[in-house]
Symmetry: C2
Subunit: 307 residues, 2 copies
């Protein structure tokens, strides 16, 4: 079943206590698409780059099974560029540069061949554009997943709330859940946010795992304890891409299947952070992924017979 | 099988953003013993208080099945007193007052009736005293669990390392694991610490759950997402008490049973933080505990058939 991802395709420069990467391919749409491509038979993207974006990187996306006919290439313009520096704990970072470039006036155009998409994931972008994409699809997808960030809550909360009304699953981190709801307890934050539109809420806690809330149910998936975290950039998007990719592959959007999707998303994210940029996502084998899923099972499964 | 807990029995004054508690009964030994008493048939304590300690609070411990014949009462002296203030996120706190009082020259005396103990838990105290207790037991217990804190790593690391060589399970938090090992990755920290003596290492992550390491195995238990956390004081000791209490009840110290023990310990801690002081631990029913264990099962269990 076909899957459509919108978001950014960009250059990232990344500094961590363990090394640097200069102008590697990045952006929410890139990580989502690369991760989802391991599961979904067809991954379509709608995004924009400048004419500085290397053809080789586009070919790399295509080689992973990504349909790039919705990737606009703006002649005479430059691609979105982000530069950030991670702190020693790797859980927080400073943004050093954000050059919107082509993103400043991005008008998302949906190719005719994408109109049948059943799974839509709105990667981090202005909530206006996210909503525009939903309106430009003639048929509402079976499932709409939305990612966003604290920045939009600070500068575009009204628009964000409009978009929230239209989506099925919201994926944000713990700090963003607290900011969006004004509640410090994540359980209370989730109760509030589930009144805003989404029927499912994923709260990502980085190295501390992720929670899935739906009605009065809650599921928790840990992050795999890793020896070395090299670069957390794109981990959240990789998680979201694995999540929706698995749902699209199985065609089952029940709560029980979303649990599995969260485990697959967490496994994909665990690979992502072991290399700079999306490098790990382009070299992944089914055997390596299965081995990692087994590690998740071993990590959390226990048997208790209640007295 | 009998269980012996050493540690502090104290008065705590606690300030949180949600309220205050003045001079409630506290201390590592108190929380451990109250929590373990739900599982272990006999809980013995070795600790010291002053003559200001209310008989009613001792009677309360006895009513929960705690044998207090090892509780020394020093006439003319005052009990250990701690006062702390939690920050808004409830994950960090400032210590406002630490009056050692009777603790300054605590000489742990083991009653003859305790000499047969099979399960020993060394609550947070100077590593010298913890070691002394081990040496004063004529027969080495079947399992020795040790809790400690960053303070002893800063002022008594050599003594701490001596004590570590004698114990089976070490229970510390993530910050302490990093401090003890000098490694920021918890996986690497665990590898190092498992070379220092303990065969099992528990790393507590507060609201983010707990990890159990043994050889090349790792198990993770989440903390239950709670609507309201009223007072985190004693949560780590309550967790440790439930852990060793369950092991003593079942008489099984395998890795698989330790997984269950960690779930029981986490469930006990989840009750502890819902009230000020140890109040929740004195009113707990088997039904409430079983219901909470079921919540843990629902929270983390998933079914995946690997392809």
């Amino acid at each position: 079943m076909s899957l459509l991802s919108i978001g950014t395709v960009a250059f990232d420069s990344i500094e961590t206590p363990f090394g640097n990467a200069e102008r590697v391919i990045g952006g929410s749409c890139t990580y989502i698409a690369l991760s989802a491509s391991y599961f979904a038979p067809k991954v379509n993207i709608v995004a924009v780059v400048g004419d500085d974006f290397p053809q080789a990187d586009i070919a790399q996306l295509q080689a992973q099974g990504v349909d790039t006919s919705g990737l606009q290439i703006k002649q005479g313009e430059k691609s979105f560029y982000w530069k950030g520096r991670y702190h020693h704990d790797m859980n927080s970072r400073d943004t050093l540069v954000t050059d919107l470039n082509v993103l400043a006036d991005f008008d998302p155009v949906i190719p005719e061949s994408y109109q049948d998409c059943e799974y839509l994931i709105l990667g981090n972008l202005t909530p206006d554009i996210q909503r525009q994409v939903i309106h430009r699809l003639r048929k509402r997808p079976k499932l709409i997943v939305m990612d966003t960030m604290n920045f939009w809550m600070e500068v575009a909360m009204d628009s964000l709330r409009e978009t929230l009304k239209l989506v099925d699953v919201l994926s944000i981190n713990d700090e963003e859940a607290r900011l969006l709801s004004g509640k410090s307890s994540l359980v209370k934050a989730a109760q509030d946010i589930l009144q805003m539109g989404p029927k499912f809420l994923i709260i990502k806690k980085g190295e501390h795992g992720a929670l899935l809330f739906h009605q009065n149910q809650v599921f928790f998936a840990p992050a795999l304890p890793l020896e070395d975290v090299v670069d957390p950039t794109g981990a959240g998007d990789t998680f979201a891409g694995g999540f929706i990719g698995y749902l699209a592959q199985t065609g089952d959007i029940s709560f029980d299947n979303m649990k599995r999707a969260i485990i697959y998303g967490s496994a994909m994210a665990s690979f992502c952070v072991e290399k700079f940029g999306p490098e790990a996502l382009t070299k992944l084998t089914a055997e390596a992924l299965n081995a990692r899923i087994r590690e998740f099972v071993d990590l959390v499964q226990f048997e208790i017979e209640l007295q």
